[in-house]
Symmetry: C2
Subunit: 183 residues, 2 copies
C-alpha cells in the first residue's frame, strides 16, 4: 500500500503570467523528510479532448500549429473549459469550432493529467458519437486542417513523427478499449 499522504507545510506563488502561475511548496513526507517542490497552475478550469467517431472504424483528427514545438501536430480537437461550462458541452463546442460537427452522444470516459508531479491540470477525454454538421466560430488564428484516422491503425498513429503528444496516444487507445468492450 502507499504511505500516508505527505503534508504541505508552506505554499507561495513565486511567478505569474497571463496563462500560468508557478507555486512553491514545502512538503513533509511521512518519514519526516522535508522537500521543496515547484508546481505549475494553469489559469483554466481544465480542458477537454474530443475523440469524435466519423463511423465505427474512423476518428476525426486535426493538424494545428503548436507554439511549444514550433510545428504542426496531428491531434484530437481540444480546448479549455469555460467558466461554469459542463465537460460535455465544452466538448461539443470545441467539436463545432474545430471540425464543423456536433454530436448527439457525448461520453466522458477519462480524466488525464500531463505531469502530475508538477501540474494539477486535468484533460477530460470525451467520446463523441452520432455527429451532424454544425459550426461555431472559434478563436483559431487560421482554419484547422481536418483529417481522419482508422481506429484499427492507432499503433501506426502513435509512431507518426507529427504525433508526439502523450494525450493523443493515450486517448486513442482508451477509446479503442471502450469500443471493444461494447462488442
Amino acid at each position: 500500500m502507499t504511505s500516508k499522504l505527505p503534508r504541505i507545510t508552506s505554499f507561495k506563488v513565486v511567478a505569474k503570467s497571463r496563462l500560468f502561475q508557478i507555486e512553491q511548496l514545502d512538503i513533509t513526507f511521512s518519514n519526516g523528510n522535508q522537500v521543496e517542490y515547484e508546481r505549475l497552475k494553469g489559469s483554466s478550469r481544465g480542458g477537454v479532448l474530443v475523440v469524435a467517431l466519423k463511423d465505427l472504424d474512423t476518428v476525426y483528427m486535426i493538424r494545428e500549429y503548436s507554439a511549444g514545438v514550433e510545428r504542426y501536430e496531428l491531434m484530437f480537437p481540444k480546448g479549455r473549459i469555460e467558466t461554469d461550462e459542463p465537460v460535455e458541452l465544452a466538448a461539443n463546442r470545441e467539436l463545432q469550432e474545430e471540425i464543423g460537427f456536433a454530436a448527439r452522444k457525448l461520453t466522458h470516459i477519462k480524466s488525464m493529467t500531463l505531469a502530475p508531479g508538477y501540474m494539477g491540470h486535468l484533460t477530460h477525454v470525451v467520446l463523441a458519437e452520432d455527429l451532424y454538421p454544425a459550426t461555431l466560430e472559434g478563436d483559431e488564428p487560421e482554419p484547422l486542417e481536418v483529417t481522419t484516422w482508422p481506429i484499427a491503425q492507432f499503433e501506426q498513429l502513435a509512431m507518426q513523427e507529427e504525433v508526439t503528444e502523450a494525450r493523443t496516444i493515450a486517448a486513442a487507445f482508451i477509446v479503442r478499449a471502450i469500443l471493444e468492450q461494447r462488442k
Copy 2:
C-alpha cells in the same frame, strides 16, 4: 497538407522560477493573423520514461507522491536527463534509482510531448529488457513502492483511478505495439 509555418516575430521571458520559465511570443500566421502566445520552458534537457520488462508478459511500475495532484500516482519510472547524459544511460540510471534493476538492453522507442501548444518539453520513452539487480542512490524523499502490471491488461491499467498521467497510458500501449510487432 499543413500550411506554411507561422513566424515568431518577438520573444521575451516574462517570468522565471527555479524550475520553470514562461515565455511570451508574438506569432504571425501565413494568412497574416498575429497572435500572442505564452509557452513554458522547463529547466531540464527533457526526461526519460522507462518501461522495464520483468518478463515478456509483465512490466514494472512505481507509486510516487505527485505534488501537482497531491496524491500517489501509479506510473512508470521516470526522471530528468542530466547534462550530456545519453537517453539510454539516463533510463538505466533512473531504473536503478527507482526500482533497483539495471537493463542489458535499452531501446529508445518514442519521444513524446505533454502539451505541444504550450511546452516544448520532450519525454523519451525507453524500453528496458534483460534486467539484473542493481541499485543507485536517487533523490527520492521516501522509498518508492515498486509493483508490476500484466501487459495483457493495459486497458484496465488505463482506467485505474490512480493512473491519470497521459504519458503512462501512451507509453504502455506503444510498448505493447512494439512487442507485438516482434512476434
